[in-house]
């Protein structure tokens, strides 16, 4: 995994992007949202920003064991974080 495909900019080097956090699906209280994570060997759902590019916030789903990117789309299409 050395690149991400930004919906606006196309394939770009990983160093242009900044990971923010994994998205919990552990619950919706503020405490759960901020602190708790559900870990998986095969799926990591994340928010990233194309910080040194178009600055889009991205919703990314990856396989953390292989680095394979399964989904990379704009975060804004999902409504809530």
């Amino acid at each position: 995994m050395s690149r991400l495909i930004c919906p606006f900019c196309g394939p770009r080097e990983l160093r242009e992007f900044e990971f923010h956090k994994t998205l919990p699906n552990a619950g919706h209280t503020p405490f759960e949202q901020v602190y708790l994570r559900v870990d998986s060997l095969t799926l990591s759902v994340e928010h990233w920003q194309h910080i040194a590019g178009c600055r889009a916030w991205l919703h990314i789903e990856r396989n953390p064991s292989t680095g394979e990117v399964l989904v990379c789309r704009l975060a804004r299409s999902e409504g809530v974080s």
């Binding site: 949202q33 602190y35 916030w57 975060a75």
Partner: protein, 977 residues
């Protein structure tokens, strides 16, 4: 001294160099190894652990022993493989790991202890009295060459490039692949580790497309050039993963002028060849023992015979053709020792053997070299049948050339989840790779016959080009003839009794022997990863290229298991060693990171400012005209602001424009207090919280219009705050109509502070601004124009004085600044800024350290307002309301004069080990004539209490009294005047 023969790589010019103080001559084109061998030098270093004398063993980067120091201290370069070092006139070379000289080495006394120094020896001893007692001595004995004292390396160049197909390795497979890909129209980069392309073709007697291998190589290179392919020699593939590969070019064979290239290919062909393997026998590390391929290279390239009377020892048919070539070069082949029984030997090989036997060469099938005989150099070989059916015999020789087969270079192919599988026909691991974009071809893929190698190359080139979107006719595979299969039979070590295993070397650089492997297994280190870590097998500078597979195979033998069941330890990047300097590029020293400067930067520097890095920004700390050090100058500059006035460059302040119909509602959610209540033309000091309720940042939010705000954020937090806002805008607020624009660099900011600030600012901006400035109340904002450019003036103060923030377009900054100076306001720097804000109890990053809540910082009343902003909900957690949590207070010395420093801890008595708080920052206040500070102190400690300042690190323990954080003008009458 051997006689020099004609070598392909050499030019007739000569050069001179020294080795261990003696002068030698060499021909241009020689490596240090070839020149020293030509001069009859066998010993080139000593091993680290047992201090055994060692010579050169290989002709490539896998050389374990002949590592030299180039140049004299302090600019010495250690650990350069003699096999790679291209000689220049005047080079000074030294051997390593010996004292005082290579021949007379006192440290060789360590050999006496070799019986005790087996694997794991360190873990069992040196416990008494303690490791530290022994460590210095042991560190000095370990470590190969001396540490360089200075680096004189020229700056490496850095290049980024793209191509369709990157081919690593320009031997037969790589050339064929590059050619096939280029013929489809694909753009090709071909990287070759050696100074010239061709790889094994250089020594190949077989014919390709009816031509000699050398002629075919030249033709291929010519066609590649015509097709626009880029051919890079002296270039290794060092790292990378899908989509981005890193190449490193190093022409001298040692750290020097280098280039690091990042290539983004669509497809990758790995044609990295194979590394010849070694076999273990007693004293196989003696100077005079070579790899067979190395003996051939030294002869063919450099015209150097590695010995006069040579014994060849191998487990495959290639040794016979090699024997013929070596004999043709004038070497006397004393014996050809083949581990295979005669039935396994190819008919053609048998013919060659018969010829040799007729000329007096001992040709022994089913035999092995049991031991290399001699002292400082090989003088003979002990040869016996592998099955022990007869007694071993001694032959006299001065060199032994060994070939145990070849290990495909799969280092790059097994990264990123690439798998390997054991190929029985070559007794080696090959890449077993399902990757679409990465294809392994040639001997790197276990192909050992030229015809197969070329075919794999062509197929890989076509497939790679296709992956990159280029389709072409399936290229014809060059026909090759005269290259038989090697018919290799795995053989790893000659018979030896357990005592002799101490001298059967597996990894010569780390002195790992068969005995070490046996002992390691006996102690329960069974897995090859454990064996590696316990013995250091494969940890050398050759990255396990020489001894890794050999060691694993012997472990398999000792465990009674198969080689594939044992596997090999995980190969780690880089695929080839690469210098730190090439990786760092120019990013160190003054260029470690770029500097951000304000539009006034040049003025500051020209006018005696001492600049300080704040994050990536450069800001004036103080001006030398006001004192020679920050403390003195800060006092002068701060004092002048209070009595008269001054200006400070505030351009680094982060500025985010928040606009749109939903801007006010959005900011209400981002800040602890509401932005929607700010009237147009007004501003408000506001605080942000992190998601967990901790204070993130503070700043003034200006309302420029009903739907337009300017949020100012701290210099150090600006980047993060922008991302923070953008995140919420793009997620929870994605349906809202808001734009966020970073306008930090669009506005220069000059803070004009002090009693005379209004008058001076009015005079500088001129009559159009007179009324606006005259009527400006505290926290009012007014916008207008100056010299045709936008200007905003905010009346706000971080100094406690009447003050204005002048936001102007950068083009105006220097002019306005100089006008203000001309009108009598002197500039001040960060030092004075800090004194002024401290006197007023305003926060900076030492208070907002990511650990404090708004309640801690005295903003409980804002929390109580109940605005449901980001982070607000988690502020209700009980820990944030406990009485031992800190609150922001002021501190002053009880005697009115003793200094105290930020970072000092505060306790309730003189001896307590439990602090109740600490001083966040302190300064001498010119306005109050004494030291003042801010502190975070437990809420349980009331104002007026005395606390002990505990500063054991710097001394200066004293006592302070807890006071209000606002030391100066507590009612803020001055700034509101």
């Amino acid at each position: 001294m051997t006689t020099r023969r004609k070598g392909a790589r050499l030019s007739p010019e000569t050069l001179g160099f020294t080795f261990d103080g003696r002068s030698y001559s060499a021909q241009v084109g020689d490596t240090a190894a070839s020149a020293l061998l030509a001069a009859g030098v066998r010993a080139m270093g000593r091993s680290v652990k047992y201090r055994r004398l060692r010579g050169v063993m290989t002709a490539g980067p896998e050389e374990p022993n002949a590592l030299l120091t180039v140049g004299a201290k302090p600019a010495n370069v250690p650990n350069v493989p003699a096999t790679q070092l291209k000689l220049r006139d005047g080079l000074v070379l030294e051997s390593q790991n010996r004292w005082p000289t290579l021949r007379f080495d006192l440290t060789a006394l360590l050999k006496l202890g070799s019986a005790y120094f087996g694997a794991g020896f360190y873990y069992k001893t040196f416990i008494w009295p303690k490791w530290r007692f022994w460590e210095g001595l042991i560190r000095r004995l370990a470590g190969l060459g001396a540490a360089p004292g200075r680096s004189d390396l020229p700056a490496p160049s850095y290049e980024h490039t793209h191509c369709d197909v990157l081919v690593a390795g320009a031997g037969a497979a790589g050339l064929a692949a590059a050619l096939a890909a280029a013929r489809t129209g694909a753009s090709v980069v071909l990287a070759e580790r050696e100074p010239s392309v061709g790889g094994e073709l250089e020594f190949e007697t077989a014919r390709v497309e009816g031509r000699s291998a050398g002629e075919w190589t030249c033709a291929a290179l010519g066609e590649l050039t015509r097709l626009g392919a880029r051919v890079l020699t002296d270039t290794t593939l060092v790292a990378g993963s899908t989509g981005e590969m890193v190449l490193h070019t190093e022409p001298a064979g040692m750290p020097g002028s280098a280039r690091l290239m990042k290539v983004r290919p669509q497809a990758l062909v790995l044609a990295t060849g194979a590394v010849e393997r070694f076999m273990a026998f007693v004293d196989n590390d003696r100077p005079g023992v070579f790899l067979l391929g190395a003996a051939e290279r030294y002869l063919a390239r450099y015209g150097v015979a590695v010995g006069q009377r040579i014994v060849l020892f191998a487990n495959h048919d290639r040794v016979y053709a090699a024997a013929a070539r070596l004999a043709a070069g004038g070497l006397q082949i004393v014996a050809i020792v083949d581990t295979r029984v005669s039935g396994a030997v190819d008919a053609q090989s048998r013919e060659i053997a018969a010829d040799f036997a007729a000329r007096g060469t001992l040709c022994l099938a089913g035999h092995a070299v049991f031991a290399a005989l001699g002292g400082d150099a090989v003088t003979g070989a002990l040869i016996g049948p592998t099955d022990g059916s007869a007694a071993a015999q001694t032959v006299r020789c001065d060199a032994i050339a060994v070939s145990g087969g070849w290990g495909p270079a799969i280092h790059a192919a097994v990264q990123e989840g690439g798998l390997k599988r054991y190929d029985e026909t070559v007794s080696a691991f090959v890449a077993h790779d399902a990757s679409q974009w990465r294809i392994t071809a040639g001997s790197a893929n276990g192909a050992m016959q030229l015809g197969v190698v070329l075919k794999q190359g062509v197929e890989a080139g076509v497939a790679a080009a296709k992956h990159a979107g280029h389709r072409g006719p399936l290229a014809a595979v060059p026909a090759a003839s005269g290259d038989p299969a090697p018919h290799l039979e795995a053989y790893w070590r000659a018979p030896a009794d357990e005592r002799q295993e101490k001298n059967q070397f597996v990894d010569p650089q780390n002195d790992v022997t068969v005995a070490d492997l046996r002992a390691t297994l006996a102690e329960g280190f069974i897995d090859i990863e454990h064996v590696k870590r316990y013995t250091a097998l494969g940890f050398g500078t050759d990255q396990a290229k020489l001894g890794g597979q050999l060691g694993a195979a012997i472990v398999a033998e000792l465990r009674g298991e198969t080689v594939p069941a044992v596997g090999t330890s995980r190969l780690r990047p880089p695929f080839h060693p690469v210098t730190l300097r090439s990786i760092a590029g120019h990013r160190f020293g003054a260029y470690l990171r770029p500097a951000r400067v304000t539009p006034l930067h040049d003025w500051h520097v020209a006018n005696g400012a001492v600049m300080e890095a704040m994050g990536l920004w450069m800001r004036p700390r103080f001006y030398l005209a006001n004192g020679g050090n920050p403390t003195d100058a800060g006092i002068v500059e701060a004092g002048r602001v209070r009595t008269k006035g001054g200006i400070v460059d505030g351009s680094t302040l982060g500025k985010i424009e928040v606009a749109g119909p939903d801007a006010a509602a959005f900011l209400d959610a981002m800040y602890l207090s509401k932005a929607s209540t700010i009237k147009v033309g007004r501003s408000k000091y506001m605080v942000n919280l992190r998601e967990d309720g901790i204070v993130l940042d503070d700043g003034i939010v200006l309302r420029m219009a009903e739907d337009r705000f300017l949020a100012t954020v701290s210099t150090g937090h600006a980047d993060h705050m922008l991302s923070h806002f953008e995140h919420y805008r793009e997620t929870e607020w994605s349906a809202a109509r808001i734009t966020l624009t970073d306008v930090t660099d669009a506005w220069a900011v000059i803070v004009v502070a002090g009693p005379e600030s209004r008058a001076v600012l009015t005079s500088v901006l001129g009559s159009p601004w007179h009324d606006a400035l005259a009527g400006l109340r505290h926290m009012d904002v007014t916008a207008g124009q100056h010299e045709g450019h936008d200007v905003t003036v905010l009346r706000a103060s971080f100094s406690g004085e009447l003050a204005f923030e002048l936001h102007c377009r950068p083009v105006l900054a220097v002019g306005l600044w100089e006008a203000l100076v001309g009108a009598g306001l002197a500039p001040y720097g960060l030092e004075a800024l800090d004194i002024l804000r401290l006197e007023k109890g305003y926060l900076v990053s030492s208070e907002m350290d990511g650990q404090t809540t708004p309640i801690d910082l005295g903003m409980g009343s804002l929390v109580a307002l109940g605005n449901p902003c980001v982070g607000r909900a988690l502020l209700d957690r009980p820990a944030f309301h406990e009485s031992h949590r800190g609150r922001l207070v002021g501190v002053r010395s009880t005697d009115g004069k003793s200094p105290f420093l930020g970072g000092a801890q505060l306790t309730q008595d003189a001896v307590s080990a439990v602090p109740v708080g600490y001083i966040t920052s302190s300064a001498y206040s010119p306005a109050l004539g004494e030291w003042i500070g801010l502190a975070l102190v437990a809420r349980a400690v009331p104002e007026g209490n005395m606390l002990y300042v505990r500063d054991p690190l710097r001394g200066g323990d004293t006592t302070v009294k807890v006071v209000s954080p606002v030391h100066y003008d507590p009612k803020s009458e001055r700034m509101k005047s």
